[in-house]
């Protein structure tokens, strides 16, 4: 492999030259808008930009901080870390989550690990290499200055977490252990058995609760943000619903941070938690925050396959399993029904090892997922038939058990393998596991500049809810890194530049913009409760999910996407006329909560399809059937699509603003993992 970081400077066109697009599949579905720039990233050598920005960001006098009110929606890694850090700095913070405790945010479910360029293994790692791997893994669709910063602060995260008492895995000498993760060739992933997200989140949660005790942070659990308050063009607060009493409250502030996580649940079935939603982000989008690259979805290769129509969610099996497990399908279709243990070695096709000899089972997620889909489409899938096709491939630990012993495998993976057995009733130590790709993560999200500020001044967005760092595909163990980088080390610096302009004008609760925001929330609730139709919210959600998976999932085409847009619009109309939500507005009402979320998923789903339609190229997690090489690999078109698609809300015909991607520290190449 000659995969060395390329640091040659390439010439780049000026910002103002519009990119040429000769085929516009999405013509008629959107209006072209003015190009946008990220005006906050300093120029100069990439390695100096963050230091420069931190230095240039204005300071806030400690005595004034108490008087500045900060709202943070979300208590996952991105939100809890930010709330704790802002609290420590002395700001007056309100923190919101929809669960009954901040500790339950979905970051808790992350299994595999967190990357950091510590180079503890002396295997040639560095901030630059982590930067390079992340840009390459993202298929050259991320903003290089943000990614470099992420790589740069990654090392501080590990120090912080260890000091908080996060029990990372350690070697016998007492030093931290590392493993390698998909898409890279160095060992830079820190982990806590298969529960890294849990341990990192508990660390951030404890730091948050410490600030609650100190009086700098107030937590609002079981509170759902249902609207953003925008006054004179700036974000000034949120409207929430108390999910126990139904009370609609107004919370005003000087700045609002959304750390509300990803929207993978637009597909209904995903590895996200039941409550994960787009509502916080979508409400902000409707008020003027651009939504960037919404179609970039990560489909994770190693999940437990669907078992039936009752399925409410899909369970991920950490990608770390690919370090020791080998993925295969039978060579012959006739063997697909056989007990896998009876299939001879020479009749097995270890297809990732065959197609991608240098990365083998460790190719990036998008590539592994599509390869599995292709095997099943060819008729070589395994497991039960779902609608006439077997949707599963084997993930086999037999070799690893021989090599490491059962104990060795248990020590590394036992909670994952136990979980598999609990869900499927099959013992993975005795027979190969069955896995299939599932929706897992969204690279798209609200557009932010280098400061993580959205197009609404005073609205900042962190973690999975923003679009910033992963381009068209995220590498494993990089979302935890990004969430904590944003919350502990980036936002607290950039937000002070905004807050330093305070104190801001006091807003009263009867300001027309506040009254309007609150009324729109109560009207919507009133509508859902009075339709009194015939179909449950879940049944609509499931149908929307099927449309998205079919036409905006692992492979997308012009005809499919156009069909999906029509179907979604029809279903959405029906939903507003025929949904059945029982119960009352002023009590705990889970159907009502879901109705609001599904309503926003409809609009998001439509935009995802329009975005996918516009991008007639294949990149990362976005694979357009019309854009592939002869041997079926993704084909990018840098001449036409090296931009971030930032969508401005305008009803059914959104406005597209392009942010051109300019690489100065890295050269764009077609990815190859062969």
């Amino acid at each position: 492999m000659t995969d060395m970081p390329d640091t040659t400077l390439t010439n780049h066109p000026s910002h103002d030259v519009p990119l040429e697009v000769d085929t516009d599949d999405a013509a008629g579905y959107y209006t072209p808008g003015a190009p946008i720039k990220d005006t906050k990233a300093p120029s100069g050598p990439i390695a100096d930009r963050w230091q420069t920005r931190k230095f240039e960001a204005k300071l806030v006098n400690p005595a004034n901080r108490r008087k500045l009110n900060v709202i943070i929606v979300g208590t996952g890694l991105a939100g809890a870390s930010a709330a704790a850090t802002m609290g420590e700095a002395g700001y007056n913070v309100k923190s919101f989550c929809y669960q009954d405790s901040p500790r339950r945010a979905h970051s808790i479910a992350a299994q595999g690990g967190i990357n950091a360029a510590k180079n503890y293994k002396e295997d040639g790692d560095s901030a630059h290499r982590l930067f390079y791997d992340t840009v390459k893994g993202g298929d050259y669709r991320s903003r290089e200055s943000n990614v470099y910063r992420l790589a740069e602060v990654s090392v501080n995260i590990i120090d912080q977490c260890v000091a908080q008492g996060v029990p990372f895995a350690r070697e016998y000498g007492g030093l931290l252990d590392n493993r390698s993760f998909g898409g890279v060739q160095v060992s830079r992933t820190f982990y806590a058995r298969g529960q890294t997200g849990q341990q990192l989140l508990i660390g951030a949660y404890q730091a948050l609760e410490r600030q609650v005790a100190a009086g700098t942070v107030k937590t609002y659990t079981r509170h759902e943000m249902l609207e953003l308050i925008v006054v004179d063009g700036t974000a000034r607060g949120i409207i929430t619903r108390d999910m126990v009493t139904g009370k609609i409250d107004t919370h005003l502030a000087d700045v609002v941070v959304l750390a509300s996580g990803g929207y993978g649940n637009v597909f209904y079935l995903s590895t996200n938690a039941m409550g994960c939603n787009v509502t916080a982000a979508w409400r902000a989008h409707r008020k003027g925050a651009y939504m960037a690259n919404p179609c970039y979805t990560q489909i994770h290769p190693t999940c437990i396959p669907v078992s039936g129509a009752h399925q409410s969610k899909l369970t991920l099996m950490s990608e770390s399993l690919r370090n020791d497990g080998r993925i295969w399908v039978p060579k012959k279709k006739a063997d697909c029904e056989k007990d896998p243990r009876d299939i001879a070695e020479e009749d097995r096709d270890y297809f990732l090892e065959r197609i991608y000899p240098s990365f083998g089972n460790l190719v990036p997620r998008d590539i592994a997922s599509r390869a599995a889909k292709n095997m099943c489409d060819e008729g070589r899938g395994v497991g039960p038939e779902v609608e006439g096709v077997r949707r599963g491939v084997y993930l086999d630990f037999a070799d690893a058990i021989q090599r490491l012993g059962r104990d060795g495998v248990e020590e590394k993976y036992d909670n994952l393998l136990d979980m598999y057995e609990r869900i499927t009733g099959e013992n993975p130590y005795e027979q190969p596991m069955r896995i299939y790709p599932a929706v897992h993560y969204v690279m798209g999200g609200l557009w932010v500049d280098y400061d993580l500020q959205s197009t609404i001044p005073g609205l900042f967005v962190t973690g999975e809810a923003n679009f910033s760092d992963h381009g068209a595909n995220r590498l494993g163990a990089s979302a935890l890194m990004q969430g904590l980088a944003d919350g502990y080390f980036v936002l607290p610096h950039t937000i002070r530049d905004y807050l330093a302009d305070g104190p801001f004008e006091k807003i009263s609760e009867d300001h027309p913009a506040v009254v309007e925001a609150k009324k729109s929330v109560t009207d919507r609730i009133e509508h859902f409760l009075t339709v009194n139709g015939t179909r449950s919210v879940d049944s609509y959600h499931r149908e929307l999910g099927n449309i998205m998976w079919e036409y905006c999932g692992m492979e997308r085409t012009e005809t499919g996407l156009k069909k999906a847009i029509d179907l979604i619009r029809g279903l959405k109309d029906d939903f507003y006329r025929n949904v059945k939500v029982l119960g009352t507005a002023d009590s705990l009402n889970q159907s009502l909560e879901k109705a609001g979320r599904v309503a926003d998923f409809f609009e998001l789903g439509e935009l995802m399809c329009i975005d996918a339609l516009n991008r007639r190229e294949s990149c990362g997690g976005h694979f357009r059937g019309e854009s592939q090489t002869e041997d079926g690999e993704a084909l990018r078109h840098d001449d036409q699509f090296a931009y971030v698609a930032a969508w401005e809300y305008a009803g059914e015909t959104p406005v597209l603003h392009k942010e051109e991607l300019i690489y100065t520290a890295i050269e764009m190449k077609q990815r190859s993992y062969k």
């Binding site: 669960q99 000091a163 029990p167 609760e209 938690a273 009752h310 119960g583």
Partner: protein, 247 residues
């Protein structure tokens, strides 16, 4: 399979509740327990009855949001969370009783949903290591012996579900608290605040109305993460040491 479900229904915190009986068919062995309740809720919604409120989020046994008393056992008959319990653990024709966690410190909010805010307040009282962002030393400056790291991890897996409290005849949260005391106490970083941590957390625990521990062990038996009972001995030991130190 077909099941008869006896389920606790209560409109809100201040109104009395009672058990209701429902029949549900079309249950498959591959369903999770909560998916079975989803099926029932779809049926209730279709016939105009308000669905049963119950908590869940991750549905993969890690967030700690779910938790039901199933036939009198916290999280039901298998050592796991309610969301990871599957219907293959039940038989056709069975009657299953489903109630919320019962504890003075966990008031019922509606049907099967309870308020566990008291757990957060116990953590606020001292369940952390005081280190501000940015002030941490280089991670490798303090090695942690592997055995300590492993024990810390094993007890840090507590998901804060509250099954230990629900299972305890005294309604004690000693297992939950002991897990945190042990996690932080195993690590060099946790030493400076060791005494104050335990005294403050125990004081908050008692203030919240949790009961005292009389070493019955029902907590550990019900714990989906198999937190061992010896964390309570550790808790008591740390408390004695702290008192000796004048805390």
């Amino acid at each position: 399979m077909k099941l008869t479900l006896k389920i606790w229904r209560q409109p809100d915190a201040s109104t009395a509740g009672k058990m209701h009986t429902y029949d549900v068919d079309d249950v498959s062995a591959d369903m999770s327990f909560l998916e079975m309740l989803d099926v029932l809720n779809e049926q209730l919604n279709a016939r105009g009855e308000e669905p049963i409120a119950f908590d869940s989020d991750c549905r993969e046994g890690i967030c700690g949001m779910c938790g039901l008393m199933i036939n009198g056992e916290a999280h039901g008959p298998v050592t796991t969370t309610t969301c990871q319990l599957h219907m293959r653990s039940f038989v056709d024709g069975e009657t299953i009783t489903i109630e919320p966690w019962r504890s003075d410190a966990f008031p019922v909010l509606k049907d099967l949903v309870v308020d566990r805010g008291s757990f957060d307040r116990i953590i606020q009282a001292g369940g952390y290591i005081s280190v501000n962002t940015g002030s941490a030393p280089e991670a490798h400056s303090v090695p942690v012996p592997r055995d300590n790291a492993v024990r810390a991890f094993n007890v840090a897996t507590c998901i804060g579900c509250g099954a230990c409290v629900a299972a305890c005849p005294n309604g004690s949260a000693s297992l939950f608290m002991g897990a945190k005391i042990t996690h932080l106490g195993e690590l060099p970083q946790g030493q400076p605040e060791r005494d104050s941590r335990v005294t403050n957390m125990v004081a908050q625990h008692d203030h919240e109305g949790f009961g005292g521990c009389t070493n019955i062990g029902a907590c550990s038996a019900a714990c989906p993460k198999e937190i061992p009972l010896d964390v309570i001995s550790q808790l008591n030991k740390d408390l004695r040491t702290a008192i000796k130190h004048g805390h």
